[in-house]
């Protein structure tokens, strides 16, 4: 790489890139720019509680030791690719040899803003939400994606009453399929979360006695706090006119090199990398993918003649009501998986002969076996046999069950889902 590196976004992708370059011996100037004044922090823990103790990705002393310049509280406002300059809100310009954009995504704003109505993406968001939850009361979560579902678990553990609203009849099924999704919904039910599924929100009315959440079937929920978790969106307005391709985030080739301009790269949630066959690809909002993309960009920057593309098995995790969910590889929610269930634990496998995707619920060793099988292209039968052999001594007389048919919904779940 020639010249200085400027990284916009002290995200997991941005910090991983800077660290990887240093650990591989890059001695050039590296500047990390972020609009937030906070020392870089990790976002996934924010929906899982305890924002008072954020996980720092990089501290100022560490940055100093590694020779990384942190420009925090500095908002990037534009790029001039011809002059190779990044403009900042304070009017200054940073010249770059290479520019990496790793700003992540922002929470889709609430259509119903107002006091007590939260979104959850940043540390400031998490602190505001927790300040509210510390007073107890009733939290209504609108949107039962992973962040909403995790926050529901956190709030329940803090002693709040929680209602989870989503227009889909089974929100987790969208990611993990119906039968596994139903198991996850059952965790919420058991933890005492009230579910309002298949229902939309029409309006929020702020009144002296609370926030009235009006659902599309006429029901009104009185809330003390509302969390709107309806997804995230790339923030690329500031890049308009730069020559970058901005249809869905920043379009890149399969190595993270931005299309349309030279010497600009993108990594993490904002980046839309082409696939190995050259197809347009899609944005991947995964923490592990952000890390891997950052390591690929580091390798490509250090040796442009041998650019590096991702190859790891994709992994997404969630932590709800003290139980873990891992989604590995290519999971097709429209296809019923092979399921191995062992007491409260479950492994679901997708694929014809060979394993291509898996979901594990609260079963780390099975998850590890599946992850290795996906990487090596092992047959499904091999994983099933290995699990039966490896299985921990049963705590009851019930042997592990192998099922191919969809699991029955539990009675309680059916009741609430109606």
């Amino acid at each position: 790489m020639t010249g200085d590196l400027v990284i916009v976004g002290a995200s997991v992708a941005g910090v991983t890139l800077a660290r990887t370059l240093r650990s591989r011996g890059f001695t050039g100037r590296v500047r990390l720019v972020d609009r937030e004044a906070e020392e870089p922090y990790d976002k996934p823990p924010l929906s899982k509680g305890r924002p008072a103790e954020p996980v720092r990705l990089l501290t100022r002393p560490e940055a100093e030791r590694l020779g990384l310049e942190l420009l925090l509280g500095a908002e990037a406002t534009g790029v001039d690719p011809a002059a190779r300059r990044l403009a900042l809100a304070d009017g200054s310009r940073l010249g770059y040899g290479a520019l990496v954009i790793a700003t992540g995504v922002r929470a889709r704003p609430s259509p119903w803003p107002g006091p007590g109505v939260h979104t959850l993406r940043t540390l400031a968001d998490a602190r505001a939400l927790h300040a509210g939850l510390a007073r107890g009361g009733h939290l209504v979560v609108i949107g039962a994606g992973f962040i909403g579902a995790e926050a529901a678990g956190t709030a329940t553990a803090l002693g709040c009453r929680v209602t989870l609203v989503d227009p889909l009849p089974s929100p987790p099924a969208r990611v993990v399929g119906r039968s596994v999704g139903n198991r996850i919904l059952a965790w919420h039910v058991r933890a005492g979360v009230d579910l309002r599924l298949g229902r939309g929100v029409q309006a929020l009315d702020h009144r002296a006695d609370g926030i009235m959440v009006r659902l599309d079937d006429g029901e009104v929920l009185r809330a003390d706090h509302v969390l709107v978790g309806i997804g995230a969106e790339p923030d690329v307005d500031w890049l308009a006119g730069s020559g970058l391709h901005l249809d869905d985030g920043i379009a890149c080739d399969r190595y993270g090199r931005a299309l349309g301009v030279d010497h600009v790269y993108a990594a993490g949630d904002i980046a839309c990398w082409a696939t190995a066959d050259g197809a347009a690809g899609r944005r991947i909002e995964h923490w592990t993918s952000a890390q891997e993309q950052a390591r690929c960009v580091a390798a490509t920057l250090l040796d442009p003649g041998r650019p590096q593309a991702p190859g790891e098995v994709p992994m997404v995790w969630s932590d709800q009501h003290g139980r873990t969910i891992q989604v590995l590889g290519a999971v097709d929610p429209a296809v019923e998986p092979r399921i191995v269930a062992d007491e409260g634990r479950l492994l679901a496998l997708w694929g014809g002969g060979r394993v291509v995707g898996a979901v594990s619920l609260a079963w780390p060793r099975a998850s590890l076996a599946a992850r290795r099988a996906i990487a090596s292209g092992a047959p499904i039968t091999e994983v099933l046999d290995a699990l039966t052999r490896q299985k921990t001594p049963p705590r009851t007389d019930t042997p592990p069950r192998t099922e191919t048919a969809p699991l029955k919904e539990t009675a309680s779940l059916k009741e609430v889902a109606r």
């Binding site: 660290r19 650990s23 592990t288 790891e312 992994m315 873990t324 079963w363 780390p364 998850s367 590890l368």
Partner: protein, 65 residues
């Protein structure tokens, strides 16, 4: 020599460390990380550091020069 430490109460059993460096990490039947070696020779440092940073639960540390 750099040394590995584990916050076992933070471990959630995601096993990303095992995938990145299975000669240093494993998980037990309860899904908790087990260190197979605590001291990391310089030659392994980058690979083990990457395993440490791949932990979604931030349960691992690699410290010391």
């Amino acid at each position: 020599m750099p040394a590995l430490t584990v916050k076992t109460d933070a471990c959630q059993g995601y096993a990303s460390c095992v995938i990145a460096a299975d000669d240093y990490f494993d998980i037990d039947d309860d899904g908790l990380v087990v260190l197979l070696a605590a001291e990391v020779p310089e030659a392994d440092r980058e690979r083990v550091d990457r395993a440490v940073r791949s932990c979604p639960a931030a349960a691992l540390r690699l410290e010391g020069a």
